[in-house]
């Protein structure tokens, strides 16, 4: 992979299928960038030739789209550098077409302090790979008791607030977090899980868990917290977003709340619409995720939630785990799967399967998550940053260790044949990934 540190002059991307979900553009055409910015986009662009001072990049008919925006991932750094670092997650991101990502605060130290926000931002900026934004923790030390300095954290760069892998369990703390955040217009992101119901479990409760002799995590653990928080959002008027919804009932609860006019949004992650609990098979710990993979009816409900717009975005939920954390008996293995490099291809499965058109699918991983987090990324338009991906939506490849750049190899899609490959990733006008390299 070559990272060209020089900011280029003008570049004319020609002969491309332009895809911009925000404007609905889907046409053959070109993009002109200058330095870090897009200066022109259009179907008719370059019909009279490219500017003399521009370097010409013939896209060969491939799709040119805004870089992906991933609103839920773990960097591993600081604290778990043996699993992932900003360098390795940055490389994984650009190989998967992700140009902007928002990392969770479950680091060590926790991102509950301005200095940690600034540390991550500075490290990522120096690397020049995918742009990294942070969530701030809702509670100090993720302990679920005292709320953080949300306004100061936001001023230093935190884009929203979450306790990441943990739901805020205490209803009063959650009420105050929503209420306090609302005074600054800040977004609260909840991992909905009622721990007293799920604590001992390692996979979805039901026949498969019973057969394997594993303790189950009932769907109600998610639904109960979604129901509770919807009422707290109503009480406080706070902006609430649920991360990685996995059950039919919780999606239905959000659907009803939206219809009633509540300021609530939600996302899901590829495992929840592409896999079900059968992926656990014979104790495959790579399929041990939080929330757990659910049954087929839930997977269908997640797809329905995506197609009818109840689900606002798709995030990778990238959670790298090293071998020591995964090569264990299922009950002892760590939760989580990597996802940066499979986000595009697995999302495109819904296009190949006829559930979504390509612009809607791309919108869920570009403009829509960017809008949720208030980021200016995810659009192919003049004046925006030149964060672009070139990809072939039909190109097949198989998810294998050797193809993945993440330091950890725990992909729940390990061994899966997928379609949709990133050929080139551009950030601020610089090519940071090229499949041919």
């Amino acid at each position: 992979m070559s990272v060209n540190d020089k900011t280029p002059g003008k570049v004319a991307y020609t002969n491309a299928r332009l895809l911009d979900p925000a404007s609905g553009l889907d046409a053959m055409g070109g993009v002109l960038t200058s330095g870090k910015e897009i200066i022109d986009v259009g179907a008719g662009l370059f019909v009279d030739g490219t500017p003399d001072d521009a370097q010409v990049m013939d896209c060969g008919g491939a799709c040119l789209a805004p870089g992906l925006v991933d609103i839920r991932m773990h960097t591993g750094e600081p604290g778990e550098e043996h699993k992932e670092t900003l360098v390795t997650s940055g490389r994984a991101a650009v190989a998967g077409g992700v140009t902007t990502m928002v990392c969770l605060p479950n680091t060590d130290p926790v991102i509950d302090d301005m200095s940690t926000v600034e540390f991550v931002a500075r490290r990522a900026r120096l690397l020049g790979l995918a742009k990294v934004y942070c969530y701030g923790a809702i509670t100090k030390g993720l302990k679920g008791t005292e709320i953080t300095e949300m306004a100061m954290l936001a001023d230093s760069g935190a884009v929203a607030f979450t306790d990441g892998l943990r739901g805020v369990a205490d209803a009063l703390v959650m009420t105050r977090a929503l209420s306090y955040a609302s005074s600054f217009g800040l977004l609260i992101v909840q991992h909905p899980e009622e721990r007293s119901l799920s604590a001992e479990g390692s996979m979805n409760a039901g026949e498969t868990a019973t057969r394997l002799g594993l303790t189950g995590i009932p769907k109600q653990a998610e639904v109960i917290m979604v129901d509770r928080d919807l009422r707290l959002a109503e009480l406080t008027g706070g902006r609430l977003h649920f991360a990685h919804l996995s059950t039919a009932e919780s999606i239905e609860a959000v659907r009803r709340a939206k219809a009633a006019g509540l300021a609530v949004t939600c996302d899901t992650a590829p495992p929840y619409f592409a896999l079900n609990e059968m992926a656990v098979g014979d104790y495959r710990s790579f399929a041990k995720l939080s929330p757990p993979l659910r049954d087929e009816s839930d997977r269908q409900a997640v797809i329905a939630g995506i197609t009818d717009g109840t689900i606002d975005a798709i995030a990778s939920d990238h959670l790298p785990q090293d071998e020591e954390s995964k090569r264990l008996p299922f009950g002892e293995a760590a939760f989580g799967g990597t996802g940066l490099e499979t986000l595009l291809a697995v999302t495109l499965e819904m296009v190949h399967n006829g559930h979504l058109d390509i612009l809607t699918a791309l919108g869920l991983i570009t403009s829509k998550p960017a809008a949720l987090m208030g980021l200016s990324a995810g659009q192919l338009a003049a004046g925006r940053r030149a964060d672009l991906i070139l990809f072939e939506p039909d190109r097949g490849w198989k998810v294998t260790d050797a193809r993945l750049h993440s330091k950890s190899k725990n992909s729940p899609f390990d061994g899966r044949p997928v379609q949709g490959r990133v050929l080139q990733t551009v950030i601020d006008g610089r090519t940071v990934f090229n499949l041919e390299d």
Partner: protein, 322 residues
């Protein structure tokens, strides 16, 4: 088929569970076990079939009965048997598992008998070693030799498993014995009932092939076999039962409840028993109907048969997934 190697009656590398075994394979294991029952009652109990073979009993969970039974089985076949108990801290159990497996594998054992508190742990270990692995009980998943010895006990008393109604009672949710028995009894054409309060019934268990009852009298009605399970206090975090006395009052096996079953119904228990918790002491010792001690006897025969067949298979091409 090139005819060069004799097809095994049990064409698998390991014995990791009952699920997936065919009626023919189970019958073959039981038939082979049967041959050892008489021999074990003789003064000279020894055969030389496993001479030169090494069997390691690797127990990550406390056990006296099962370990002794396997040890005796190995020794009666002249194998060299080594017992290893691995003390497990609650945090780093898994690390010990893989490390220990690799270390032991380097010593070229022929059979590893493994018990582990986590479901799936024995399967995981079997993927890391070159020898045959017998699951001596993994978490709440399976305990295949227990189901086989239960089946042998029933078959010797009733002639067949086909068509019998078997009630399994008590702590189903935590029980690997229950799961292995559900699979075996279904495969062999018996009908399975599960009787327990709902907190001890795992969700979706009916789809494994069982009818669920919350009422002991109703569930025991006309049963041929009553299998009691041990209440596993060590696996119960949180409130599954209000008290032992309430459990015994409604789900403990006493003569009054037993009267619902067939008059000649057999009483079984995998041991160790909690007398007065799941089973009344008098019922447990009922000479006519309790076959609890016979189960222990059959255990040695079954384990001898399993050791013999898996050792035979070491030189054959067999499926290594089971």
């Amino acid at each position: 088929m090139n005819g060069q190697t004799e097809q095994s009656i049990y064409p698998h590398r390991h014995l990791l569970g009952i699920e997936g075994l065919s009626p023919l394979e189970i019958t073959a294991l039981l038939d082979r076990s049967e041959t050892y029952v008489e021999q074990n009652r003789q003064a000279d109990k020894k055969q030389s079939l496993l001479r030169g073979r090494t069997i390691i009993n690797l127990f990550f969970e406390n056990s006296t009965r099962t370990r002794t039974s396997f040890e005796l089985a190995g020794k009666r076949l002249s194998g060299d048997v080594i017992n290893m108990s691995v003390a497990t801290s609650s945090i780093k159990k898994g690390e010990t598992l893989i490390d220990t497996a690799m270390t032991l594998n380097a010593m070229h054992p022929d059979v590893l008998v493994v018990r582990h508190p986590e479901s799936g742990a024995v399967k995981l270990l079997s993927e890391k070693v070159n020898c045959a692995v017998i699951n001596g009980g993994d978490g709440s998943h399976e305990h295949p030799t227990q189901a086989l010895l239960d089946a042998l006990t029933i078959r010797r008393r009733r002639g067949t498993l086909q068509g019998l109604t078997v009630a399994i009672c008590g702590d189903i949710v935590h029980s690997r014995v229950a799961r292995s028995n559900i699979h075996l009894l279904n495969t062999m054409g018996a009908r399975v009932r599960l009787i327990a309060p709902a907190t001890l019934i795992p969700p979706g268990v009916e789809r494994l092939g069982a009818e669920v009852f919350y009422d002991m009298d109703e569930g025991l009605k006309d049963c041929d076999i009553v299998m009691m399970l041990r209440i596993q206090h060590e696996r119960m975090q949180g409130s599954f039962l209000p008290s032992q006395r309430e459990f015994f009052a409604y789900f403990g096996l006493d003569y009054a409840k037993l009267a619902n079953a067939k008059p000649d119904a057999l009483i079984m228990h995998p041991g160790p028993m909690n007398r007065g918790v799941e089973i009344d002491a008098e019922v447990a010792d009922d000479f006519g109907r309790s076959v609890i001690r016979e189960q222990v006897e059959m255990g040695v025969a079954v384990r001898m048969a399993c050791l013999e067949i898996l050792t035979e298979n070491l030189d054959r091409p067999v499926d290594s997934n089971l």
